[in-house]
């Protein structure tokens, strides 16, 4: 018996003035006839899916693919434009950490309020309270108003409540993407626990490693439809291919459509070169030096620009970035094709695969072109590491020397 069954779900939003404006507009709209400038945006289109009870299923897809909308429809927050949802069992949705938190209330009060809003009974919260507090690690501040909490403390408290949620069906959106490593580990443990207890979970995440370790099946949403649906490994590798710009590190970017920004500048090629700037490379070496060449086309003359490259871990979090603003440099461009080089010295990210984002912008988040996670960059171990060493899951390499044990006290 499926726990979640959705048939031909569609969701349409009107984009334009309607529905957000003033009463006056609604009153005069009848006189003017149908609104001219509202267009339809179909976030989901005829999506059908079925999830068996006790399965943990991952939902992946680019931003705007309809993942969150699907979760909102399944959790009844919003209604589909057409289609039917059938759920078997109590549904708990966790679309945000710390839902219902209020600044003026104390930590203790917020645990009860948020827990209750997320569907826990008072008895359940009473029973779980000590465990929630221990999990959050904010015992000392339980009777302090939330407004005095740091953002990290809020997050921990919010997640502590979330980790104690229970329900036959859990819909979880992107809560794994936030927080530090330890937080994410706790998060994963809590999810595994749900899995063990036979809960049905639909999990949205950009954290592919987490999806891989938790889910047996993955659904890939693209433009409101299921582009792939099947065993985790198959779908994820297909999905990963779709945004790695062809898989190379010297890549033609001109065909990429996943870009945002004004379009005044367009990146059309990326080259990975060795430190002298002549020889193309396919990978960089830990501790080595290299150059990245950004080819772009500008439609107009502009000055005061910031160019940047961001390094993401395979899990999607930002691990490093370099940009002209930090370098104290403002870039001026002229119409036509140009390229810009950036030299990286003593590269100290641990061996593994990283993902790059490129952007050209003006200060204040005014992007002219932004390519999110468009390229893979492979980092190879140096000779200092033997075979299979230098793969410990950490990210930053510390240039360190270990000594020999020296007896400091005779037995």
């Amino acid at each position: 018996m499926p726990a979640i069954r959705a048939e031909r779900l569609s969701k349409m939003f009107r984009v334009g003035n309607r529905g957000r404006g003033m009463l006056r507009e609604a009153l005069t709209a009848r006189l003017r006839g149908p609104p001219a400038r509202s267009s339809e945006l179909w976030v989901l289109r005829d999506l059908s899916l079925q999830i068996e009870a006790g399965h943990v299923v991952g939902l992946v897809g680019k931003n705007g693919a309809g993942k969150s909308t699907l979760l909102k429809i399944l959790s009844r927050i919003t209604a589909p434009t057409s289609g039917v949802v059938k759920l078997r069992g109590k549904v708990t949705s966790l679309l945000e950490v710390g839902t219902g938190f209020h600044e003026e209330l104390t930590g203790r009060e917020n645990v009860y309020l948020s827990g209750c809003i997320l569907g826990m009974s008072k008895r359940l919260i009473d029973r779980a309270f000590d465990s929630i507090v221990a999990f959050s690690g904010v015992e000392a501040f339980l009777d302090t108003p939330l407004k005095r909490y740091s953002s990290g403390m809020r997050l921990r408290l919010g997640f502590a409540v979330a980790a104690h949620l229970d329900g036959e069906i859990l819909l979880v959106d992107e809560v794994l993407a936030v927080g530090d490593g330890e937080f994410q580990r706790k998060c994963l443990t809590a999810m595994q626990d749900l899995q063990r207890r036979g809960r049905t979970v639909l999990l949205v995440s950009h954290n592919l490693a987490a999806i891989e370790s938790l889910c047996s099946r993955v659904i890939w949403l693209d433009a409101g439809q299921a582009r792939a649906d099947g065993p985790t490994h198959d779908v994820l590798s297909e999905y990963a291919k779709s945004f790695s710009g062809g898989g190379g590190t010297a890549a033609d970017l001109s065909a990429l459509t996943q870009r945002t920004g004004s379009g005044a500048i367009r990146f059309d090629r990326f080259d990975l070169l060795d430190a002298d700037g002549f020889t193309p490379m396919t990978a960089v070496r830990l501790g080595g030096s290299f150059a990245m060449r950004l080819h772009f086309t500008s439609r107009v003359s502009m000055q005061g620009l910031i160019f940047g490259v961001t390094f993401h871990s395979p899990l999607g979090s930002v691990v490093a970035q370099t940009h002209t603003f930090n370098a104290g440099q403002e870039v001026t461009v002229v119409p036509g094709r140009s390229y810009l080089d950036v030299q990286i010295r003593d590269f100290n990210l641990m061996p593994g695969r990283y993902v790059l984002s490129l952007y050209a912008a003006h200060l204040g988040d005014i992007y002219h072109d932004s390519l999110e996670q468009c390229l893979d960059l492979d980092v190879l171990p140096t000779a200092r590491y033997g075979q299979l060493r230098g793969m410990d899951g950490s990210i930053v390499a510390l240039d360190s020397d270990w000594g020999e044990p020296i007896a400091s006290e005779a037995p």
Binding site: L23, T99, I117
Partner: protein, 255 residues
Amino acid sequence: MSAIWEYRELFFFLALRDVKIKYRQAVLGVAWAAIQPLVTMVLFAWLFSQRMNPEAGSQDSKVFYLSALVPWLYFSGAVSGASNSLVGNADMLRKVYFPRLVLPGAAALASLVDLGVGLAVLLVFIAVFGSLSLKLLLWIPLVILLFVASLSVGAFLAAINARYRDVKHTVPFLLQIWLFLSPVIYPITAIPEQFRFFVALNPMVGILGAFRATAIPTSTVDLPSLLVSIGSTVVLGGFALLYFLRTEVELADVI
């Protein structure tokens, strides 16, 4: 309705939150719930008693004003709180499902604390300046009626406010006009008998009139106007509930 029962704990937790927030970081705390009607009463008694309202002057003007002001201030507070309850909790609406009626309901419930304090003050005044009688037992059904009327108006406005923020700007005026259309500064007997039926379509006419009648020993409840007001409250409540439930499903999208 059964869904509301299932979410009763949430209903109480949200009401509790509203009460706590309202008086937190205020030195006088919940005493404000007593100060507000008292100050207004003194103001009204001083402004209107002798000049405008000889009839009121013949009775005890303090009890006269306070007995209508306490329920009126509840209505006014609950309606403005409830009408803002959806927009004020928009983040929550977008992130989690629960019957949306819980929000205006909790706002109206939270204001009952103020009403309780106000009624306690009124009780003291009745004891000192008038006399306590069994008529005061009428407060129980009257408070329920007042709650239903306030919630109906508040929930209806909240649903419109979710889409059209004009409501937020209209509510203060609406309440001001409503105050003058209700027997707060004048007695219900000031309304000519032949019009009383129509005037009592305003639920507050019957409710405030009855509250006042219980507080003043010499007066009796004007039953026809109370019955009309009960009827109009039921109709209003039904209409508001239907409208609210119809707009509820699209709330997260339009708010």
